[in-house]
């Protein structure tokens, strides 16, 4: 799949923002006044910024409100509804915490839960697609939630939680890569089933429908960047989990070091998300003799 920058930025930053909102909702850190204001500002900037970035790839962003109507069937619609609910409820909760120094616990817990549910809905937009076997797996929502909770723990200053979560995320991401590599083969779709011609013999594309590219080949068949995938995976996993974990767990704590670790973590997350798209193969590639 084409790794569009707007979608990579959206999924990573809205995941971080809603992760941080989850912690704030559950009262970790238990802050108030101006400190709380700064925390909420960062969380909203990331969550709302990500949502706005996601509208950049729409053909008709001015009709975006229509996307709230089909929550009964569509995960994309559910994501929209949940994100607005989470942002509104967390906003009310934030007003109490920032201006009145009162923490309405149930409101925070509700808002925090909705924030995490938004991340699950985002992940299911990808996880539901049978056409992309690498994504169509239970590991997709688990990974998205782990990304969100780990990054959120960084921004919420919950170092005690960030340490084990970094390890967990690293292991989950590695497993998802390793097992993900064979999911397309296991899905059973081949150029033979795509054309139905396997009953005669081995099929290969003789001539494409046109000499140039089209929307489908540009959007869903992305092979160019894959050749360095293994190297990128190694770099991503170091930046995402290994180095930040070493900094947090083995070095003496300092705010500057923790900040660097957080930045590295986000860079690693962006790289991993790029790979998430670039390495995902869509069945339509079978018709074009490419995956």
């Amino acid at each position: 799949m084409h790794p569009a920058p707007s979608i990579i930025i959206f999924t990573v930053f809205s995941g971080l923002g809603f992760g941080l909102l989850t912690y704030l909702g559950f009262g970790k850190p238990d802050v108030s006044g101006f400190t709380a204001f700064v925390f909420f500002l960062i969380a909203y900037a990331m969550a709302v910024g990500g949502l706005i970035a996601s509208t950049f790839h729409l053909g008709h962003p001015e009709r975006a409100l229509k996307a709230f109507t089909q929550w009964r069937s569509s995960w994309l619609s559910r994501e929209g509804v949940l994100s607005v609910l989470a942002l509104v409820i967390m906003g009310l909760y934030a007003i109490g915490v920032v201006f009145f120094d009162t923490r309405i616990a149930w409101l925070g817990i509700l808002g925090g839960t909705l924030s995490l549910a938004t991340v699950v809905a985002t992940s299911m937009i990808y996880g539901q697609l049978k056409t992309v076997p690498r994504w169509n797996h239970w590991s997709t929502p688990i990974l998205f939630v782990l990304y969100s909770l780990t990054g959120g723990a960084f921004f919420a200053g919950q170092v005690w939680l960030a340490k084990p979560l970094l390890l967990l995320l690293g292991i989950a991401q590695l497993l998802a890569w390793i097992f993900g590599d064979s999911l397309f083969r296991e899905s059973g779709s081949t150029i033979e089933t795509a054309t139905g011609l396997g009953r005669i013999g081995k099929v290969r594309l003789f001539e494409g429908p046109h000499t140039g590219g089209n929307y489908l080949t540009r959007e869903m068949i992305h092979i160019v960047g894959r050749k360095h995938a293994q190297k990128l995976r190694v770099i991503a996993i170091f930046a995402l989990t290994i180095i930040p974990w070493i900094v947090l767990a083995l070095l003496p704590f300092s705010h500057i070091l923790a900040g660097i670790a957080a930045i590295l973590h986000v860079i690693g997350a962006l790289m991993a998300r790029w790979l998430f798209f670039a390495q995902a193969e869509h069945t339509v590639g079978l018709y074009y003799g490419a995956r």
Binding site: G59, T69, V203, V284
Partner: protein, 247 residues
């Protein structure tokens, strides 16, 4: 509503004969011609006369080579448009309700004034049957020529999809695949019509008729005359063969 209907009254669709299609791309052209002038936004082209032309099409013809276990390879021309699936994943993913499947005839359509152009439905279609128009920013797909098949302003013989009407080889058939006695259903039964990528669980309405097996007997009448006269070389060639062998 982007939930799918439990069942549809009819299942209108196409039956495409891979044995007959000659790969002329006439259906591609007539489809683009009809659909760019009629229902919905026109099908735009980008850089049409430049070095990197590209455009929106609702129907495209691929060509494949098949190598059987024994014998020569075959070339098969393979037209592909929306299969109007019964379990259409493109419909249920749509956040706006723009994509829907009609209860009365099973046609899968996009309401272009509701579409936000998110492209998710094109991701959900296993067959590559939906293309986002780059100029209009809305999703385009085969409409089964819904503006022809019920159009009383057209002469009766024209009330079929443009691609079906145009095909010079008669490789595209249109009808109700929900009615077991319809011409198309009988054709599918006789010719062992098949689904594309059944493992995707989309239950396509459109069916493909596989190429008929090649005749293998006919050539045998002349074959005996073409047998090699001598397996072992004699005379000069035999001498040469033996001499070279010894070297």
């Amino acid at each position: 509503m982007t939930t799918l209907p439990q069942s549809t009254e009819r299942k209108l669709g196409l039956v495409i004969d891979l044995d007959t299609c000659v790969g002329c791309h006439a259906c591609v052209v007539s489809c683009k011609g009809w659909n760019t002038e009629n229902y919905g936004a026109p099908l735009s082209d980008q850089d049409a006369y430049g070095g990197n032309p590209s455009g929106t099409f609702l129907n495209r013809v691929h060509s494949y080579e098949i190598q059987p276990e024994q014998g020569l390879a075959q070339t098969i021309h393979f037209p592909k448009s929306c299969l109007h699936c019964e379990d259409a994943p493109c419909v249920t993913v749509c956040p706006t309700g723009a994509s829907y499947k009609r209860v009365e005839d099973g046609i899968v359509l996009v309401n272009e004034s509701d579409c936000i152009g998110c492209g998710l439905c094109a991701w959900a279609c296993p067959y590559g049957a939906r293309e986002l128009d780059q100029k209009e920013g809305v999703m385009k797909k085969c409409t089964l020529c819904v503006d022809r098949i019920y159009n009383n302003n057209l002469p009766e013989e024209d009330r079929v999809p443009a691609c079906v009407r145009t095909c010079p080889a008669g490789a595209r058939h249109f009808g109700d695949l929900g009615d077991p006695d319809s011409d198309v259903s009988r054709l599918v039964a006789e010719r062992d019509g098949m689904d594309l990528m059944p493992e995707q669980g989309t239950k396509p309405v459109n069916k493909y008729l596989p190429p008929r097996p090649k005749d293998e007997e006919a050539i045998d009448v002349l074959a005996p005359f073409l047998e090699p006269v001598a397996e072992e070389p004699k005379g000069f060639l035999g001498w040469l063969d033996k001499t070279l062998e010894k070297l």
